[in-house]
């Protein structure tokens, strides 16, 4: 079990290698793994249908209780099966579809990694583990969507998907961690077992919003629905996989999974129903607006995701059953239709609906698959799509505003009905159209998946008992978090849902009939509107623009500004505590010591003249004056070593300064303009004053001299030196001195390094080897 999600990762690493070894039939080799996984998961169908759940856990970060733990119940099993089963065909399909592509191996690698991520996501029990796989799906889909990276649109779509889902993911992380904290566990199975703990927690709202942000971005709910159709830039196998069964359903999975813990509240219902409903309508309308097969399918996927969220939002028994049923149905027919679209693209060189017609003869398998899948999607009996739609209406009619909810569902379904026929029938009937290539059927790998899924749509409709017992039923129970009776059937008598279905079909037929005109009309309206896709561009422009603005404001490239901000910060640091704590300062009048005062004045006067002198040399020499006066201070207060060093150092500094400054140009008085001078002056005086105050405040208290007394006692007796300062330097604190002379030496080395390249001519040549 633990190996299940990890195996695709491991195999992924070898995919490019295998491609090189076995060539284009690599898909058949790699498909063995998902097929095996399907079989493996299928073994759990029985036990899970019997109400068993499985937990598999191993230590990951034991000290923090983060485990690599997996949980298998009806919901996760349904997803795991869809992922591995559809994945099998996708791998085959990709191998055939991208035959001869130079990067096929790499593509399959990403695809397998994605599969692993998805499996991990739906199986995870630990919130952190869940998030890990959640983000992995974003990353791998980034790579998959950007696979045709020579196209700017692909790059944009990939980045867009990353930005939207990645951004949502971060919110989800916060939500999950908050949830873990609120519920006192990292394990979902524990957290969700008693949902009231979460629902009654003060953080409930925060958790909800954060989790929904994650789910909505991933599952392309309004207003984040725009990234999904753009992601159609990816090769069709990606669309077929990511956007039918897997990635986009991750958000739905999350909502379904969280339902026992977070669902059922009014706010949950309102938000989910509102966003889900809006997404359903928006996706369905946009689907009709488009004329590219893949885009139309993508938009219906958005709509379907909206429908699923909508249903989970309603949260009643039938609604949840409907959600699971529709999810199951959708995975099959949408997977099939995407592969059909790809097959058509592959066989004709276009996906433009207006150019496609009469392909049935040239592409018989594809046509059959498309027709069957379209029937399921349009919700006609005896396909499983019909059952799902019936259950949808059962669910909406059960909800709090049955008429409104049902109306929304009918509108959405009717639009999807039209699209289903446009995609699944229109290309195959009528007079052959004018296509770039002469239409031809692809290899087995291209159509086998579509056909299988389409046939299964029929199969599960006919044998609804199987779907009910093994797939929808256990999943719905898991979502509801409580036992329920699930009884799926094709015909339950002429009741309200059937009426709704009939309305749907009628409306759908109308839309199909007026498809062209409607599409043109919608195109005109929608394209003139501002939409979130344009908003994304504006967001990116704005973000980078903001970044540039902030950066230009702060990082001006002028040392002077950096200094100014630094000193303002320093001033704030010095003044802030004073303001906050409001302490006074008691200044004792110092004794009048003329010698100290005169030397102090000399130091002060000499230094004060530095900014005002016009002569470089005078300025340098004034530093000598400062150095000398400070040395005098050291002398006066019993620091001969300091005075000694100070004099030597100051003199040498001044000498080196003269040596260097002689080579710098004219200098002039420090003129910086009135306001600037005043500003700088005030800042300077403020810092100076604060320093003085701080120093007085500190020195007015007694100092603990224990260290110095220790040195005084030990200096001669144990370190054999009478100059205590020197003994400190070479013995008591010799490590400081060792560091200090390292500084001196390295300063010399640094200067040599500085001067070593002074004669360089090739100015901007990098110092790297060639």
């Amino acid at each position: 079990m633990l190996a299940a999600p990890l195996a695709p990762f491991i195999l992924a690493v070898f995919a490019p290698f295998l491609r090189r070894q076995v060539g284009d039939s690599v898909g058949w080799v790699l498909a063995v793994l998902p097929a095996g996984l399907t079989l493996y998961f299928a073994t759990f169908l029985g036990p899970v249908a019997d109400g068993q759940t499985f937990v598999f856990s191993t230590e990951w970060i034991p000290s923090l209780g983060i485990a690599l733990s997996f949980y298998l119940d009806g919901l996760s099993l349904l997803f795991a099966l869809l992922i591995s089963f559809i994945g099998t065909f996708i791998v085959l399909y990709a191998g055939a579809y991208l035959k001869g592509h130079v990067d096929l191996g790499r593509f399959l690698m990403f695809l397998l990694m994605f599969m692993g991520s998805m499996l991990g996501l739906v199986l995870s029990d630990n919130v952190v583990t869940l998030f890990v796989f959640w983000e992995l799906t974003s990353i791998t889909s980034f790579l998959l969507i950007g696979f045709s990276h020579d196209k700017a649109r692909s790059r944009r779509a990939a980045l867009q998907a990353l930005v939207v889902t990645g951004g949502g993911g971060l919110a989800l992380l916060a939500g999950l961690l908050l949830m873990a904290q609120a519920g006192g566990s990292m394990e979902l199975s524990t957290l969700l077992s008693d949902g009231d703990v979460l629902r009654d927690h003060p953080w409930y709202m925060a958790i909800l919003i954060l989790v929904l942000a994650g789910a909505f971005t991933k599952s392309a709910q309004v207003p984040f629905h725009f990234w999904l159709p753009n992601a159609m830039e990816a090769p069709t196998p990606v669309s077929a996989y990511l956007h039918s069964a897997t990635m986009v359903k991750a958000g739905v999975y999350l909502l379904a999974r969280m339902n026992p813990g977070l669902g059922g509240t009014e706010v949950w219902q309102i938000i989910l129903m509102t966003f889900g409903g809006l997404t359903l309508l928006a996706g369905a309308i946009l689907a009709l607006r488009n004329t590219d097969l893949k885009l139309m399918l993508a938009q219906t996927t958005v709509a379907s995701l909206g429908l699923l969220v909508f249903l989970i939002g309603i949260g009643e028994t039938y609604a949840i059953q409907a959600a699971m049923a529709y999810l199951f149905a959708h995975s099959m027919f949408k997977g099939a239709l995407f592969m059909v679209a790809g097959s058509i693209d592959h066989g004709t060189g276009t996906r433009e609906i207006s150019r496609l017609s009469g392909l049935g003869r040239a592409m018989p398998f594809t046509a059959v698959a498309g027709g069957l899948a379209a029937l399921s999607m349009s919700g006609l009996p005896p396909f499983f799509g019909f059952i799902a739609k019936e259950w949808v209406y059962k669910g909406t009619l059960d909800g709090s505003l049955p008429l409104l909810l049902t109306a929304v569902a009918i509108t959405g379904n009717a639009l999807m009905f039209a699209v289903a026929f446009l995609v699944g029938f229109k290309p195959f009937f009528g007079k052959p159209g004018d296509t770039p290539h002469k239409p031809h059927e692809g290899s087995l790998g291209v159509w086998i998946g579509a056909l299988t899924l389409a046939v299964l749509s029929l199969f599960f409709g006919l044998f609804s008992g199987i779907s009910e017992a093994f797939f929808v039923g256990p999943a719905a129970i898991a979502v509801a978090g409580q036992a329920m009776v699930v009884d799926l059937y094709l015909w339950g008598g002429f009741k309200a849902p059937v009426v709704a279905s009939i309305i749907t079909v009628a409306l759908g037929a109308l839309f199909f009939w007026q498809g062209r005109r409607l599409s043109a009309l919608l195109a005109r309206i929608i394209d003139s509107l501002w939409g979130p896709d344009k908003g994304y561009d504006q967001f990116m422009d704005g973000l980078v623009g903001l970044a540039r603005w902030v950066s230009a404001l702060l990082q001006t490239g002028r040392l002077r500004r950096y200094m100014l901000v630094t000193f303002l910060t320093l001033a704030a640091a010095l003044v802030l505590p004073q303001l906050l704590l409001g302490r006074g300062l008691e200044i004792k009048t110092p004794p009048l010591d003329i010698l100290v005062w005169v030397i102090g004045l000399l130091a002060f006067g000499g230094t004060l003249a530095i900014p005002f002198t016009r002569s470089r040399v005078a300025a340098i020499m004034l530093m000598g004056v400062l150095g000398l006066s400070v040395a005098f201070v050291f002398l006066l207060f019993g620091a001969p070593d300091l005075a000694f060093t100070q004099l030597m150092v100051e003199t040498l500094s001044v000498v080196i300064l003269a040596l260097v400054i002689a080579r710098l140009p004219v200098f002039g008085a420090d003129w910086r303009g009135g306001p600037r001078a005043i500003r700088d002056g005030i800042l300077a005086v403020a810092i100076g004053t604060a320093m003085t105050a701080l120093l007085i405040s500190i020195t007015s208290a007694p100092l603990d001299l224990a260290l110095s007394e220790f040195f005084g006692v030990r200096s001669y007796l144990e370190a054999y030196g009478r100059n205590v300062v020197n003994v400190i330097l070479v013995d008591f604190r010799a490590l400081d001195t060792l560091g200090e002379i390292a500084v001196v030496t390295i300063a010399g080395v640094s200067v040599l390094a500085l001067l070593a390249f002074r004669h360089r001519t090739a100015d901007d040549e990098e110092g790297t080897t060639s």
Partner: protein, 127 residues
């Protein structure tokens, strides 16, 4: 006595801050020099002041007399002086080399590493 020197220290800090806020490289160097001296005096003052009795153990004595100047800050200042001197020497040569290469001593005109013109080649949406 600490108070008098505290005032001097503050004054030196103020002057050095004023110098460091200049855009002239030479003045920045002068500012660093003054800052160093101000800091060394500050350390000296934090160790409290004692007039005219250096921390030397007179011959004939085995331990230091009471009331000698505090030797620890002196040792710290010595270390600090040496370090500031080394850094100062480097700064000087750096300034010279910067002038030589960049042709400016006004730091406002030193815009090679962070160029003035930031005409963005790309919009945020461009990938």
């Amino acid at each position: 006595m600490e108070t008098t020197l505290a005032v001097l220290v503050g004054a030196l800090f103020a002057i050095s801050v004023y110098l460091l806020l200049s855009s002239s490289l030479i003045r920045l160097i002068l500012g660093v020099f003054v800052l160093g001296n101000a800091t060394h005096l500050l350390i000296f003052v934090t160790g409290r002041l004692t007039r005219e009795s250096p921390p030397l153990i007179d011959s004939g004595l085995k331990v230091a007399e009471a009331g000698i100047a505090n030797p620890l800050p002196q040792a710290l200042i010595l270390t600090a002086i040496v370090i500031s001197f080394s850094l100062f020497a480097f700064l000087l040569v750096l300034s010279y080399r910067a002038y030589q290469s960049l042709g400016a001593i006004d730091t406002d005109e030193m815009r090679v590493a962070e160029p003035e013109s930031r005409t963005p080649a790309m919009r945020g949406r461009d990938v």
